[in-house]
Each structure stands twice: as C-alpha cells, then as structure tokens.
C-alpha cells in the first residue's frame, strides 16, 4: 500500500533509490546531498537493496565511475550538490555526449566563493549546457515523483540522456514534509528492466566507446545529441501521463498556477513557488488577477508551450535564483526568447533573489506583485534586471 510519510527531501530521494534498486551507485559526500548517500549506504548494509556502491575519492571520479558503469550495461544513480557537481563538470558533458542514461539527484546549493552551503541554482544553471535533462521540484513529493520518472525518461530509446533531478538545498532537502510514498513493487513495475545498448561487458560484440571524433563526424554526433534532447520533451510528457494514470499525480513540462485569466505573472523555479502560490491565493481572494508559471523541465526548455501559456498575460516577473555575471538571469533569457515571436508580447523583467539561501518571504512576493502592478500601470519597466533584498541595491 502507498502511504503518507513525514520525510525530508533528501530522505525521499534515498527511499526512491531503494525502491529503484539500481545496479551501481558511485557516490561522494557533499552537503546538503550527503543524507541521500548515507541513507542509501544503510539500505545496502541492511540488505534492503543489492546495489553495488563505489565509495569514490571525488565527485569527478563519481561521475567517471557512473559513465563506466552505465556503459558497462546497467542502471546507475548518484547524488551531489554545488562544488561536487562543479568538480564533475568535464564528466557531465561526457556522460551526456556518450548518451548514458544516468540519473542524479542534485540538491541545489550555491557555488563558492564565498563558500556557502545553502540553496541557490548556480550549480544546475551553470550546467544547463552540459546536455543533461533537468527537472526541478517545488517540494519533497515532486522531487520524489521526478526521481521515479527519471530512469524511464533517461532510458527511453529516443532519448538515452542523463537526467538531473533538482531540489533546493536545506529548504527542501532537510525539511520534513508529508508526502505520498508509493509501493515498492508499483515503482519497480513502472520503471521496468534496464535495457542496455552496446554494453562494454559484451565481449562477443566488442564495441569501442569514446573514440576520437574529428571534423568529419563530430558535428553529426552533436546534432544527434541535440535531437535526443528535443525528443525528450515529448518523452517527459508521455512518461508524466503514464505516471498520472498509475499514481494519480499530474505533471507537465511546467505548472500553470491560476494562470488562465492572469494579467500579472511570476515565473520561478523550485521551493519559492510554494510561497508564491500562497500569495497568489491571498491576492486572488481580493480579486487581483495574478498567477504563477513554475518551471519543471528547464532542459529541454518548452519555448512554444510557455509562449502559448502566457497568451493574454500583460506583465511577467522572472525570478532567477542564480545569475549570469554581465548578463541577465538564465531563466529570464529563456523566457524572453520564448516570447519574442508572440503576437502580443507582455512586459518582461528579471529579479535575482535568494542567492546563498537568502529567504524570500510572502511579504516579499506581495512586494513583487505591487511592483509589477505599478510597472503595468505606468507602462514602464523601471529596472530590467535587479536584485531583490540586497544591501546597497
């Protein structure tokens, strides 16, 4: 029977890994993702899974071992955060380019310096061009559900790409929330058996993996990778629909919250969307037509679908929990691109918030809606990209 449990976000991920029982888990500890690996190690020690763990000596080796293990022909999972993923950098690209369906929990944390262990999206946004599918989650339940769906998306033969399942460090990873934990057998049946492609362990059909690829073929291989990522958009929707049929919770490429008749909209990612929804409910009670578009799939990015969903919206505030120094925030750039060809373009501007874990309260969200109301009334965006809640700002 599925059951309601009170569990941390990190704990939900390790429970999900227990249910999936991957063949190999290479892992290295880093705050705030450590609990995922600690709990899973205990499952191995207690015989609740028969996964082989590799307690590697660095994250670079963790991702290298993930690639080797996946190419050998089995299901592979790991977890990391921040600097850990930064150390994997080279191997993130290689995992995706070698088309290995590795699934990784990324508990979002700020990159150094200054060193900081709390949530922002500088790690995953920095990796947005690494070729990984990126799924984001507002809370424990969504992160858990994304992790159940991730192997099925990654291993689809039209995709064969790694998936990063992201959630906010501490805010979600370390906070206990109630959520629906599904039955082990149901989860296993949903994901199914791993199908390997040209496994390195097949000595009867020896394959050469990771060949030198020069001017004559490199571009075709990169294009094939790009096409796989494009295919992933349909596959994510298909897998989400199957998930909804079996488990009852519906997911799209993004969530539209009270968006239908909204005039003023916030677009955001991850845990802050919880507060935004609360504020929207309050303002809606007073007749204010506000809404939220919450990104679930950042890679692939659903440009056309977002443009369609924003039809009729008059102003959009894009919240970025990371920044691109000398440029606009990464989410903002995508949203503006999505809207460029729209026949009626809303006003769009960008706010950077929450770096290094700085809180955004409901009162701050009210302030955002007050600000975009003023911008709409005056017809003028006073500051295109700016920081929220910063000294000297």
């Amino acid at each position: 029977m599925s059951k309601i449990v009170a569990i941390t976000g990190a704990g939900a991920m390790s429970e999900c890994m227990r249910q999936i029982n991957p063949d190999v888990v290479p892992a290295f500890p880093i705050t705030p993702s450590t609990q995922v690996i600690e709990d899973f190690s205990q499952f191995v020690a207690d015989g609740k899974v028969d996964t082989e763990m590799i307690t590697v000596e660095s994250e670079h080796s963790a991702m290298s071992a993930c690639i080797g293990a996946a190419a050998a022909g089995g299901r592979v999972m790991t977890a990391t955060s921040s600097a850990g993923m930064a150390l994997m950098w080279e191997m993130l690209h290689i995992a995706a380019s070698m088309r290995q369906p590795i699934v990784m929990t990324l508990i979002n944390r700020a990159l150094s310096a200054p060193i900081n262990i709390h949530a922002d999206h500088s790690d995953s946004m920095g990796a947005r061009d690494a070729g990984w599918i990126q799924l984001y989650a507002e809370n424990n339940q969504e992160a858990y559900d994304n992790l159940i769906m991730a192997p099925k998306i990654a291993e689809n033969m039209d995709v064969r790409l790694p998936v990063m399942v992201c959630m906010d460090g501490f805010i979600i990873s370390h906070c206990v929330q109630t959520m629906q934990l599904e039955e082990d057998e149901k989860v296993k049946a949903f994901i199914g058996e791993f199908e390997s492609t040209y496994p390195v362990l097949d000595t009867d059909h020896p394959a050469t993996w990771g060949a030198l690829d020069l001017q004559d073929y490199y571009m075709e291989h990169k294009r094939a990778q790009h096409m796989a990522m494009k295919n992933a958009k349909d596959v994510i929707q298909k897998v989400s629909a199957e998930f909804a049929d079996i488990f009852g919770r519906k997911y799209e490429l993004f969530e539209s919250y009270r968006l239908k008749d909204a005039e003023r909209v916030i677009i955001a990612i991850n845990s802050v969307c919880g507060e935004i929804k609360e504020v929207i409910d309050e303002r809606r009670e007073a007749g204010d037509k506000v809404g939220l578009l919450k990104i679930r799939s950042f890679r692939p990015f659903p440009y056309e679908e977002i443009a369609e969903a924003l039809k009729g919206v008059k102003i959009v505030t894009v919240l970025d929990r990371s920044e691109s120094m000398g440029a606009h925030g990464p989410l903002f750039v995508e949203i503006r691109t999505a809207l460029f060809d729209a026949s009626e373009k809303p006003m769009v501007y960008n706010r950077i918030f929450g770096l290094g874990g700085r809180e955004l309260f409901m009162s701050d969200v009210h302030d955002i809606f007050e600000e975009n109301k003023r911008y709409l009334e005056t017809g003028k965006v006073e500051k295109m990209t700016d920081y929220l809640k910063v000294r000297g700002g």
Binding site: H60, S61, G68, G74, V200, L201, T203, L212
Partner: protein, 316 residues
C-alpha cells in the same frame, strides 16, 4: 606460461592499421593483453593518451576487445565503474562469463593528472590491472615534462637553454607509491623484454584484486631516437639500472633482472637526443647527479628486497 611463439598464434587484442608512430613500442603490450591468459576475456579502458587517439579515430578502431575511453585523468575511476557493474550483474545472474579488466594510461595520465583516480581504484580493491606505459613526458601533446620526466631531459616545457640544463630535480617514483597502497601486485617491466612482460601481465591479470604495472616504453619523437631504436633504448634503460625490473607480491620485493655488467647511465642517455645537450664537460655535475640517483634507487630496491623478505619470514 606459453612460449612467445605459441602466444603469437592467439588472437591479439589490437589490430594493425592503427596510427601510432612508426617504431612506437606501445602495441607490443596491447597485442599481448589477450594472449597471456586463458580462461578470461579482457575488457580494456584507456586514459586520453597517444594510444587512445591513435587507436580509435572514428569510424575506425584498432580494438578487437571491448574498450572504453572517457577522459584524461580518470581511467582508474571509469574502469572502477565498468568492473563494479560486472560484479553487480554477475550477482544478479545477468552475466556469467569470467572477465578481467585492464586500465591503460601514459605517465602524464597516471603519475600526474590521473594519480588520484588511480589511487582510489587501487585502494578500493577493484579487480583491475592498471598499466602505465611510461615514456617520461606528455608525448601526445608534444613532449611536455611530466613528473616521470628524468632529470636533465629537454622537453618543450623544460627546454635546455642558456640558463637551464632541462628538467630539474628527480622524477617521481610512482611504483613505490603504488606499493604503499598495499595491493597484491606491483611490477616494473620494460617493453624490450616480452618474456618478463608477458609473465607479469599474466600474474597481474589472473590475480583477484588490484594490480599495477609500470612499463618503460620509449617514445620515438620524445626521446629523439631513430624509429628502430625503441627496443634498444628500453634495454639500455634496464641494463644501466635506470629502470630496474622488479615485482612486489603482497609487499615482498623481488628483483627480476640483475645486469651482469656495469653500464653507465650515459650509455642510455646519449643514445637519445633529449639528453644530448648534457654530453659536454660543463655538465659533468649534472650527469654525475643522474648516475648517483640511479645507483641510490637501485640500492634502495636491493635493500627493500632484503628487508621485505626478512619481514615476510621467508629468510631467517
């Protein structure tokens, strides 16, 4: 152990038509991988290096066995993953074949940038043989110094010049570092002695657990030698005691070859263009220091052999 003639009749792991330099001795050992042992099939991994780029230019491959390359500094880790997946699938009854795993890197990818992942792989106890072919510099990128470059050698990042005699200081002794990992098998071998090398490969592959072989492998352009001089250059490296042939089995040292005559290190050095600039009276101190280091290292290994045998209880 089959004879070399018998071994040569077996299917090799490595086909001709690869793009290694003329005279490069590296294919000597890659061809041996499948020939030294019966009963196991071999899966190989490569660090980025000359061998990797010259054997796998898409859409061609010289490899007749399963082979994987991911990056420069991580073949220890990527092959840890391959070997672990083998154990995982074996445990779950999805694979039954007896397989053995070999990781290959040059000295740059092993002594330097790959040292950490090598150390991790050996310490964790994977059933993996790591073969470092040591040619004493980053040859693939055009002869830059590595920590395996011998003192005095001119490289493109330690060029000899008015103010420099080439690479300063002594090279790193990686074999000793690997002995300190307390693994079952560590050996130094040379490309010029296929009998000794094939025996060592066989022992390393058949051992259940991690093993490391450090293989002296001259580089034609890097050592600035004629294409027919790789084997002779390696032989003189061993005869001069620059590269002692020894193995360490469960911590016990055994010297495999004791040169019969005293060959000064200069005979090895001045066969090569990379030391030619030292062949002048004003560099006598440098050459003497190189000779002293060779003797110090040889004597250290002799003492290790005595000491480790004593400690193991094999000698009273």
């Amino acid at each position: 152990m089959p004879s070399l003639q018998e071994m040569a009749k077996k299917e090799g792991a490595f086909a001709g038509g690869h793009r290694m330099c003329a005279g490069c001795p590296v294919p000597i050992f890659t061809k041996m991988l499948t020939r030294v042992t019966d009963g196991y099939e071999i899966v190989a991994g490569n660090a980025t290096c000359c061998l990797e780029v010259a054997s796998s230019i898409f859409p061609y491959s010289a490899w007749k066995i399963p082979w994987i390359h991911t990056a420069f500094e991580n073949v220890g880790a990527s092959m840890s993953g391959v070997e672990t997946m083998y154990r995982a699938l074996k445990k779950r009854g999805k694979i039954t074949k007896p397989l053995k795993f070999v990781a290959i890197g040059g000295d740059g990818g092993t002594y330097d940038i790959g040292l950490q992942s090598l150390s991790g792989a050996m310490e964790r106890g994977h059933d993996l043989v790591y073969i470092c072919y040591d040619n004493g510099a980053y040859m693939n990128t055009g002869v830059q110094r590595s920590s395996a470059t011998p003192m005095g050698a001119t490289t493109t990042t330690t060029p000899a010049g008015e103010q420099s005699f080439g690479r300063q200081g002594n090279r790193k002794d990686l074999s000793r570092i690997m002995v300190a990992h307390n693994i079952g098998y560590v050996a130094q071998a040379s490309i010029h002695d296929p009998v000794d090398l094939s025996e060592k490969l066989k022992k390393a592959i058949e051992l259940d657990g991690p093993a490391f072989i450090n293989l002296l492998s001259p580089c034609i352009p890097g050592w600035k030698i004629a294409p027919d001089m790789a084997v002779e250059s390696a032989r003189l490296g061993v005869e001069s005691k620059y590269w002692p042939l020894y193995e360490v089995i469960d911590g016990v040292y055994r010297i495999n070859y004791r040169p019969k005559t005293e060959v000064p290190v200069t005979e090895w050095m001045f066969l090569q263009g990379r030391f030619k600039h030292l062949n002048k009276p004003e560099y006598k101190d440098v050459v003497d220091a190189i000779q002293q280091e060779v003797e110090r290292n040889w004597n250290w290994i002799i003492k290790q052999e005595e000491l480790s045998e004593l400690l193991s209880g094999r000698v009273n």
